[in-house]
């Protein structure tokens, strides 16, 4: 284009000189951002204009991201941008799903509420079936039941009692406010009448009541 040597010199210099380091830093930034895999210095060099020094640009870039929400990290021989570890919690979204308590769990809970403090063996006796470990764990985790005092009987079994959280959930002042069987029946909450001749549940009732009053005397 121009024959004048001094102009050529200048032109050549601009043509072949590497971009300023700030510009190189931008390039490295864009490359690291868009790459699915960590990028080696060599790979950066291949992609950047002739004469670039990605290693030096990286030093600047790394500094720039110090303390930021993302960081420039070395992965083996390559480089990548990663979320700052202290912000990992942002990468999850909590969704709350409400489910009905299983029949086993609600029955176990009911027995504990009516008979507390009650041992696992006693729960099983009342329910007539074994109580799975998972059911108890679930209720403990929900913080609706907790461990009570150990029973002073052979084996010193642990007992379960209901918690304040349980009372709050069911809007009860205390477990004593739970209606007895007779009241449940009077309120039509029992679908059944006792069979004629079947042993009356009066005793049951009494027992439950006794159990309860015992429990709540402290």
């Amino acid at each position: 284009m121009s024959d004048e040597p001094e102009v050529t010199d200048e032109k050549e210099q601009t043509l072949f000189a590497a971009p300023p380091i700030a510009e190189q830093e931008r390039m490295v930034e864009a490359i690291l951002f868009a790459s699915a895999e960590p990028v080696t210095i060599r790979e950066m060099e291949e992609r950047m204009p002739h004469g670039c020094d990605p290693a030096e640009a990286l030093v600047h870039l790394r500094k720039r991201y110090e303390g930021r929400g993302v960081r420039v990290v070395k992965v083996g021989e390559a480089w990548a941008v990663r979320t700052a570890p202290d912000l990992a919690f942002l990468m999850q979204k909590e969704t709350v799903e409400e489910r009905k308590l299983s029949r086993a769990a609600i029955e176990t809970l009911a027995i504990i509420a009516y008979h507390q403090p009650v041992t696992r063996a006693e729960i099983e006796e009342i329910r007539g079936v074994a109580v799975s470990r998972g059911t108890i764990d679930q209720l403990l985790e929900m913080e609706w039941i907790r461990f009570g005092r150990r029973r002073m009987t052979p084996g010193r079994p642990v007992t379960f009692v209901v918690t304040q959280g349980f009372l709050d959930h069911f809007s009860l002042e205390s477990a004593r406010d739970l209606p007895g069987l007779k009241e449940l029946r009077a309120a039509g909450l029992l679908d059944s009448r006792p069979l004629p001749g079947a042993s009356s549940d009066e005793d049951d009732e009494d027992e439950a009541q006794t159990g309860q009053s015992e429990l709540f005397e402290d």
């Binding site: 864009a30 999850q92 979204k93 929900m142 069911f170 549940d201």
Partner: protein
């Protein structure tokens, strides 16, 4: 761009190709408006100053050419041709003050508007496609992190459910599953089997009660069941024409005999 008259008689290969491309477009999907827009470029004026009359003539000439060359034109090209022919005649004739509907000038203006609008959309489309495009000019994050969905399950129960559950447990013993008592039931099938075996021996009238099985006559419950079953069986056999039934009066004993 070739003059429309020349579209079908050009000599150069390039022109011919261009003409063919236009014909393909005519056959294809670009439509009469696209053809009009292409033809309008020969006027080398702003679309706003276009001569619609001239354009109509160009279009009609094009359609004539196509017909002469036996090129099948889609219906909408012919509809447009008819409309332009009408428009042309209206533009050439002095306006009829009695005529209803839009003036020829309004119609021509509308056509010019349509062409200008289509042209504008073409240009906008080109500008749009020339913008910085994602995946070509700008790029997304290479390693996107999925947002982990932490599903927290809360369980719930109502006081009613709690009380019902308790009541269910405490009253469980009051129930036992219902089982049909079969020990004291004599079925009709059993009675039929028995009767079929016995009837051969009863040539004369015999009382139905004599057909009751052994051990079913004494206990009232068993007798009722056996009597009912035997009676039902005798009705069935009578229906089949195997026996006859007789009863002298209401509540009198029922007798049966083999039908001869």
């Amino acid at each position: 761009m070739a003059e429309p008259e020349n579209l079908f008689q050009t000599q150069s290969v390039a022109d011919r190709l261009q003409a063919e491309a236009l014909i393909v477009d005519v056959d294809g999907f670009e439509g009469p408006l696209d053809l009009l827009l292409t033809l309008s470029r020969t006027q080398k004026v702003d679309l706003r100053k276009i001569s619609v009359l001239q354009l109509a003539e160009q279009y009609l000439a094009f359609v004539e050419r196509a017909k002469a060359l036996r090129i099948e034109l889609a219906a909408d090209y012919l509809v447009m041709a008819a409309w332009l022919a009408f428009l042309k005649s209206r533009l050439l004739l002095p306006p009829d003050p009695e005529a209803e509907g839009p003036s020829a000038e309004d119609m021509a203006a509308h056509l010019a508007f349509q062409l200008e609008r289509l042209q504008a959309m073409r240009e906008s489309a080109a500008q749009l496609m020339a913008r910085d495009r994602l995946g070509r000019d700008t790029f997304v994050r290479g390693v996107s992190e999925e947002v982990a969905r932490v599903r927290k399950i809360t369980y719930t129960a109502s006081l009613m459910e709690l009380m019902q559950a308790y009541a269910r447990i405490r009253t469980r013993d009051e129930f036992r599953p219902y089982a049909f008592d079969r020990t004291n039931v004599f079925t009709m099938e059993e009675a039929l089997d028995r009767m079929r075996g016995l009837i051969g021996f009863a040539g004369d009238w015999s009382e139905l009660t004599t057909f009751l099985p052994d051990g079913w006559a004494s206990d009232p419950k068993r007798r009722r069941s056996a009597t009912a079953a035997t009676f039902a069986a005798s009705l069935e056999m009578a229906k089949q024409g195997q026996i006859e039934i007789r009863q002298s009066d209401t509540f009198q004993p029922i007798s049966i005999r083999k039908k001869t």
